[in-house]
């Protein structure tokens, strides 16, 4: 998962912004070595504290393998576990492959070719990001049930398809930015050596984009591994689903926790594979950014390109959203909205409040981690791994880990009388940070990582300390990447269900909880309004993300 988010986000880090950053900073003052060391020690302590604090809930779960539930495991091996592993592997391979193909080819289409609607499509093709998988799942399940039949519709392949169209934007974003970053010169050289345009794509463009694609694919893999909402709709029995099956069915939390550890293991393998796929490739800012030459398509080819783009958008966004609108109108007509406490505005405010505070917290802690950990070796990467552990386990498992941790704190009596962390707003935010800090951290880390080491080295030579380099040079240069990371965290928290469900305070009822209230009773019609609200807010966030991206492109051209 250690990826380069800003490989995806073509960041505006042109000369003017760096000049601006440097301009705001008068000549570096001389700092005494003692003060510098003290500051460095403090930052190490703070970072370690953050990393440990956010990893404890997951480590609590991991700890359970110390006393393995042998009996349950024997039974699992004899019955469901082989199927779970098979389903998980099938889904993982299919969806990662599917999103790679779809995301990369759509990104190439809108980057390398000019055709009617290209600019608009460039935006619209990211919007599936705004639709939660569990919403897209029930919409497609219900829509396809009639033509395909109830039996055919419940298949792992359809589940993979739904996950692919929900998750491809991750790869798309990464691929698009990677393509944009590439220089036409490389292609020209390839062409002059006799490659056709398509050969140049396969031999030059794609290999150069490999690190970014691997980063996007790793995110997709993580999402697939930990999904518990979409898979159950399609009767797909993954390991993540098995965690809940064992835990809810037998009440054996230990055995469930051990399955969750298996998931963490797979995630670690995924991360290693991503590292491998990236190889030693490391992109830093190069001075000239000529960009790819865009080929203008005409006639049938132009129409074909438009059709592909619009078909994709229709399939992934327009059809499900129009279905939701139909249901919302039906709910209004038949007055079927009164099953939840509070109205749309109330749920919306709850959602925005939770997402905003969680995002800001993730952002602040992510910045702290990056500022302190950057350029550090073994110890640092261990801390980073710890801090991002929560992203490798399913939401319900994080929820239980946090619950157990906070309840233990509540029992110590350290808090003022009558104050409890379980069921508090603070507790909920903490849990969301445990789960999503990884997204913020990786996004920030990768954009900061793209700042050329020579710039950093110059600053250090001039006497600037590590923290100073981070706050004065790296962070300002990585501004757009940081915004993009924040937006992704915001979208993730906006869609989040299991953690919020278990840990929300009284009076906080988010939009996904409303969706859950209705869908757990198969009342799809009643789930339409909150689903649409999630999609609408998500779209606004996607627009913000894209604005950043577009803006970056404009400053280049």
């Amino acid at each position: 998962m250690s990826n380069t988010l800003t490989d995806a986000i073509d960041v505006a880090r042109d000369d003017s912004s760096s000049a601006d950053a440097a301009g705001g900073n008068s000549a570096p003052s001389m700092t005494s070595a003692v003060a510098q060391r003290a500051r460095s020690w403090t930052s190490t302590a703070m970072i370690s504290a953050v990393a440990i604090a956010v990893s404890i809930p997951v480590l609590v779960i991991v700890w359970s393998i110390v006393q393995p539930s042998t009996e349950v495991w024997e039974e699992l091996w004899a019955t469901r576990l082989p199927g779970m592993i098979r389903d998980t592997a099938t889904l993982l391979v299919t969806v990662v492959f599917g999103t790679l193909v779809l995301g990369t080819s759509l990104a190439w289409l809108v980057t390398a070719y000019q055709f009617p609607g290209r600019r608009l499509l460039g935006w619209l093709l990211v919007t599936p990001l705004a639709i939660p998988g569990y919403v897209l799942g029930f919409v497609w399940l219900d829509t396809l049930q009639e033509p395909l039949g109830a039996r055919a519709v419940r298949s792992i392949w359809l589940c993979a398809l739904v996950l692919t169209i929900t998750l491809y934007p991750y790869v798309y974003l990464f691929a698009r930015a990677a393509f944009r970053e590439q220089s036409q010169r490389a292609i020209d050289v390839a062409r002059s050596l006799g490659c056709s345009r398509s050969q140049a794509f396969w031999r030059v463009v794609l290999p150069m984009a490999r690190p970014s694609l691997a980063g996007g694919a790793a995110l997709v893999g993580m999402e697939v591994l930990t999904d518990v909402g979409t898979v159950r709709l399609f009767n797909v029995s993954t390991i993540a689903d098995g965690v809940l099956r064992v835990w809810f069915g037998t009440g054996n939390r230990n055995a469930a926790a051990e399955l969750a550890v298996l998931l963490i293991g797979i995630a670690i393998v995924l991360i290693a594979m991503e590292r491998l796929a990236r190889g030693r490739a490391r992109f830093t800012q190069s001075g000239s950014r000529a960009g790819l030459h865009v080929e203008r398509l005409h006639g049938a080819r132009a129409a074909g390109a438009s059709t592909i783009g619009w078909a994709m958008f229709t399939f992934a966004v327009a059809l499900p959203v129009s279905r939701l609108i139909t249901w919302a109108l039906e709910a209004r007509r038949t007055d079927q909205t009164a099953t939840v406490a509070g109205d749309l505005g109330f749920h919306l405010m709850s959602s925005l409040r939770v997402a905003a505070v969680a995002t800001l917290t993730c952002l602040a802690l992510g910045l702290l981690l990056v500022a302190g950990l950057n350029r550090r070796r073994a110890g640092g990467s261990l801390l980073a791994r710890l801090a991002t552990l929560g992203y490798t386990v399913p939401g319900p498992v994080v929820a239980i880990g946090v619950l157990v941790t906070l309840a233990a704190l509540d029992r110590t009596g350290w808090l003022p009388d009558g104050w409890l962390l379980v069921g508090s707003f603070v507790g909920l935010i903490y849990a969301l940070v445990v789960r999503f800090l990884a997204v913020a951290y990786q996004g920030i880390e990768s954009s900061v990582g793209k700042v050329s080491p020579s710039v950093v080295a110059s600053a250090r030579t001039l006497g600037a300390g590590r923290v100073r380099v981070a706050t004065r040079i790296e962070l300002p240069l990585a501004g757009a990447g940081i915004i993009a990371a924040s937006v992704l965290v915001a979208i993730d928290t906006l869609k989040e269900l299991p953690i919020t469900l278990l840990l929300r305070p009284f009076g906080t009822e988010t939009l996904p909880i409303w969706v859950w209230q209705a869908t757990s009773e198969s009342l799809w019609v009643q789930a339409a309004v909150p689903s649409l609200a999630i999609v609408a807010v998500g779209m606004l966030l996607v627009a913000a993300l894209l604005w950043t991206l577009e803006h970056g492109a404009e400053t280049v051209s």
């Binding site: 003017s16 109830a150 069915g249 409040r353 905003a356 009558g418 707003f425 915004i483 009773e521 400053t555």
Partner: protein
């Protein structure tokens, strides 16, 4: 010039989020939450126990249509209710984790096994209430009165009125090869399936129960994780027979009185149809045990009709008439003695389901 804009956006994002966060500590969250069931909460800080000792706090796994019932309770008694919804097992984990610190006075479940597991975990209080022991039949409450059923759901055989002449009348009959390829069942992940199999184990022993479940699996059932969709699948011809709860038909019939699916009461020559229950209990560490008991007593008496009707369930109190739509399904014998034992047999049921390859 343009280079400044990302930072401008970041700044406005920060400011916007802070404003939103700050709004949270105002009262707007509270009063929008629920009108009658006011939910005092300090959104920005750690939660504290409610100042008003009269407020009752409820954790409920039975969430469909629960809010109007609590509203009515508040109207009747003047006592406020604040509640949080969730999955039964997760709410149990929360109660166990919170221990003495729990703000919950009452826990409600949509399933007998889950409340029995809570009782076993020692998080429920045994209560001494003449109102409850008189209203709720003995079989529908625990031996030491630490939980009480409030309504019943029957899990029955359903059949197409258009294609099936002689539907099976026992759960074992569903496994008859006659129904191969025409059977719809709910996946084993759902508590309804687990408690049905637990009831088979209680009545017939684990070995026979395994045979029965195996015969279902051998019929290559279509697994659908929604009772409503199971009814629709039977109506649409995807399946001819299925096992589902009656109350979903109640809902469907209000929409379409000619819905072509009928209910077959199973095991009427023997133990009766499998029933599961919605339950309520006072928590062992309830800050307001008196209020908790008052709410449960009200739900068993004055609120009984409304509570059961909200979900087309059969009232736990036999003297209260069921909603007319489900009353139209006729009288039936219910397998009441199994209700108390469902929790203890659930792990075995999960094992049987796994061993037979039930999806």
């Amino acid at each position: 010039m343009t280079g400044k804009q990302p930072r401008y956006v970041l700044g406005s994002l920060l400011v916007g989020a802070l404003v939103l966060g700050a709004c949270g500590s105002d009262d707007d969250a509270g009063d929008a939450a629920t009108e009658a069931t006011s939910t005092p909460s300090d959104a920005a800080g750690a939660s504290s126990t409610p100042d008003d000792a009269g407020t009752i706090t409820v954790y409920t796994g039975r969430h469909y249509g629960i809010e109007p019932v609590f509203d009515q309770f508040t109207t009747d008694t003047g006592i406020e209710v604040r509640f949080t919804t969730g999955n039964d097992p997760e709410l149990r984990e929360r109660l166990i984790a919170e221990g003495a610190n729990t703000p919950a006075d009452v826990v409600m479940t949509a399933d007998a096994a889950n409340i029995a597991l809570s009782a076993e975990a020692g998080i429920l209080a045994s209560v001494d209430s003449d109102v409850l022991t008189e209203t709720i039949p003995e079989e529908l409450r625990s031996e030491n009165n630490d939980w009480f059923s409030l309504s019943q759901r029957a899990r029955v055989i359903i059949a197409s009125t258009e294609r099936v002449e002689n539907p099976p009348t026992t759960y074992a009959g569903v496994g008859d090869p006659e129904w191969r390829g025409t059977l719809c069942l709910r996946p084993s992940t759902h508590p309804y399936t687990q408690s049905l199999v637990a009831s088979l184990i209680i009545a017939e022993g684990e070995e026979r129960a395994t045979e029965i479940v195996q015969s279902w699996v051998d019929n290559d059932p279509l697994y659908i994780n929604s009772d409503t969709d199971i009814y629709k699948a039977v109506a649409d011809g995807e399946c001819d027979i299925a096992i589902a709860n009656t109350y979903y038909l109640g809902r469907l019939l209000t929409e379409d009185p000619a819905f072509p699916v009928e209910i077959v009461w199973p095991e009427q020559d023997g133990r009766g149809a499998h029933v599961n229950v919605s339950t309520a209990a006072v928590t062992a560490n309830a800050p307001n045990p008196a209020g908790a008991l008052a709410l449960i007593e009200w739900l068993a008496t004055d609120g009984q009709q409304q509570f059961a009707d909200a979900n087309f369930e059969y009232p736990a109190d036999p003297d209260v008439e069921p909603n007319e739509i489900i009353a139209g399904f006729g009288d039936f014998i219910a397998d009441l003695p199994a209700v108390r034992l469902l929790g203890a047999n659930q792990p075995a049921a999960v094992e049987v389901l796994s061993a037979t390859g039930y999806e």
